[in-house]
């Protein structure tokens, strides 16, 4: 029943995220014909500086369907929304209680704290897995409708990189949830961290270094076909460390 409870607790966050991502995926596919129409107009825009460079880049990427899907979906919409929901699903006190000081009902049950945490974490992982893969499969499924084709294999690769690397954000939110009793602080802090990292990545664009969002969007795979192994390993290590921290925290904490 702990699984059922965890599901009930995160149900709405998951369902809303799922609905948003499904709609977004379909919007991405069915919006392509319109984008093609606008391309000639866009390429003739002569703006200077950063904006101009970005417009040129976008135009260039949108030139191919594959490039368009990557820049719009895997590199942007899915990336941003999924990260947000990873933070959302991971936030919220593990032992959900009525008020900050209350003796939590869950802790009065004959279930070890670590088991409760484990089930909660696993439920979130399962939900985020669905959010990472199912909407993405819309792309190869629906592309034929607009006369395009997209490889299932590619979609799976991108989703996998997103899920594996992005789990670090989920684990961060979980870890923070074992420290704070409310929903907001873990959420705000995790989003804050994501924002800072994103901005940092933008600023250091020129450097060919890592950056978690680069790994999550599997940029190297898009550009050269090689998977970002180093990045995936590092993020897995980070995730494990944070999960371990959450586990240790929940064991020794007072309620």
């Amino acid at each position: 029943m702990l699984w059922y409870k965890s599901w009930l607790e995160t149900r709405w966050r998951f369902l809303i995220g799922f609905a948003l991502l499904m709609l977004s995926a379909m919007g991405c596919v069915f919006g392509y014909p319109r984008v093609i129409q606008l391309l000639p107009a866009a390429s003739s825009i002569d703006a200077g500086g950063e904006i101009g460079r970005r417009i040129k880049e976008a135009v260039q990427l949108a030139g191919t369907y594959r490039g368009y899907v990557w820049s719009q979906w895997f590199g942007q919409e899915l990336l941003q929304m999924w990260t947000l929901f990873a933070a959302l699903v991971g936030s919220g006190s593990v032992f959900s209680r009525v008020s900050g000081d209350a003796a939590p009902f869950t802790l009065s049950l004959p279930a070890s704290r670590n088991r409760v945490l484990g089930i909660r974490a696993a439920t979130g992982f399962a939900e985020l897995f669905v959010l990472a893969f199912v909407p993405s499969l819309i792309i190869p499924l629906c592309s034929p409708v607009i006369g395009q084709s997209y490889s299932f294999g590619d979609a799976l690769v991108y989703s996998t990189c997103l899920f594996v690397a992005g789990s670090a954000f989920y684990c961060l939110a979980l870890l923070l949830s074992t420290v704070f009793n409310d929903l907001w602080r873990p959420l705000m802090i995790t989003c804050g961290v994501a924002l800072v990292l994103a901005l940092g990545e933008q600023a250091l664009r020129s450097a060919s270094g890592g950056g978690i969002f680069r790994v999550m969007s599997a940029q190297t795979y898009f550009q050269t076909g090689s998977l970002p192994w180093a990045g995936l390993v590092v993020s897995l290590a980070l995730s494990s460390a944070m999960l371990y921290g959450a586990d240790a925290n929940i064991a020794r904490r007072d309620f």
């Binding site: 059922y4 409870k5 209680r97 009525v98 009902f105 802790l107 004959p110 007072d254 309620f255």
Partner: protein, 299 residues
């Protein structure tokens, strides 16, 4: 006759952020008793209960429930398998319905008693399909009690079970408790502000003040030992320090001196005779007077 001790606290100490909540709390609760746990707000009642249930770890000292160490994680799970708990805030899952809460809780207890759950559902008139967050305070308490009583537990720990309830609901809760205790073999440990209700159903009492147990024992024995002595003097009541053991509190107001003592009145009376009081009256003492007479007054 040695009775099995269901709860044992030995010199428990607990600090939260530098504030000492428990300062050497020691008491025992033998099996089959209904033990009332009295104390002012902030005296350490909830902290003590949290330690017993493994929610908080003591800084030092030992707590045992069913003979098992409360601070050991594995033992604590076993303790909780045999204990029913109702927290002060009646913490439950807002997002579940009454029925879901029952099914959820039932899952954890192999000795769950469906017959009891059904009986209490009916007598408490709890609507199965209503979400917990839509329940009134009284119904939340009853649901929490139902979940604690139906799990076939040997020990019930209740933190302020009737707080926030109107007299009718309070009475219902106490009746359910008594009815349950009368048929099942169990021990009850409940903290309360309502001295009257402790007096009504408890057979032993622990009074906690600033993190220590200052009075503990069987209520009937305490009633026999505690006495209030009222002395009236011709002039102002003399300012004497009493040597007799057990003098808890001495109050002087004009010509009247009131002494609350905990070990019978004889030795105190011996000391008052030379003071030549005009009149002496010895009366039994209610639990409320025992409580007020032994706790620390805010100076």
């Amino acid at each position: 006759m040695s009775e099995a001790l269901v709860i044992e606290a030995a010199d428990l100490r607990k600090e939260f952020d530098g504030v000492a909540a428990l300062r050497g709390l020691t008491f025992q609760v033998p099996a089959g008793r209904i033990c009332g746990f009295l104390g002012k707000n902030g005296a350490g009642k909830t902290t003590c209960i949290k330690v017993l249930l493994g929610m908080a770890r003591p800084t030092s000292g030992q707590a045992r429930v069913f003979g098992l160490p409360a601070s050991d994680q594995t033992s604590s799970v076993e303790i909780r398998r045999r204990t029913g708990f109702v927290s002060e805030e009646k913490d439950l899952y807002d997002f579940m319905t009454v029925d879901e809460m029952i099914r959820f809780t039932r899952d954890f207890f192999p000795r769950w008693r469906n017959d009891l759950a059904d009986r209490y559902l009916k007598s408490f008139e709890l609507p199965r399909d209503r979400k917990v967050k839509a329940l009134s305070r009284g119904m939340r308490t009853k649901l929490a009690l139902l979940l604690a009583l139906s799990r076939g537990a040997e020990l019930l720990i209740l933190d302020e079970p009737t707080s926030g309830l109107d007299p009718a609901a309070s009475e219902e809760v106490l009746q359910a408790l008594i009815g349950h205790v009368a048929t099942e073999q169990m021990t009850v440990f409940f903290s309360s502000h309502q001295i009257a209700e402790v007096e009504q159903i408890a057979d032993s009492v622990v009074i906690i003040d600033t993190g220590r147990a200052i009075v503990s024992g069987e209520l009937d024995v305490l009633r026999e030992q505690f006495r209030r002595i009222e002395l009236v003097f011709d002039g102002e009541a003399p300012d004497v320090a009493f040597q007799a053991p057990g003098v808890q509190r001495v109050q002087r107001k004009g010509r009247v001196m009131t002494i609350v003592c905990s070990m019978g009145s004889d030795s105190v009376l011996d000391e008052t005779r030379p003071l030549a009081p005009v009149s002496v009256q010895v009366a039994p003492v209610t639990l409320k007077e025992i409580f007020l007479g032994t706790i620390h007054k805010e100076d």
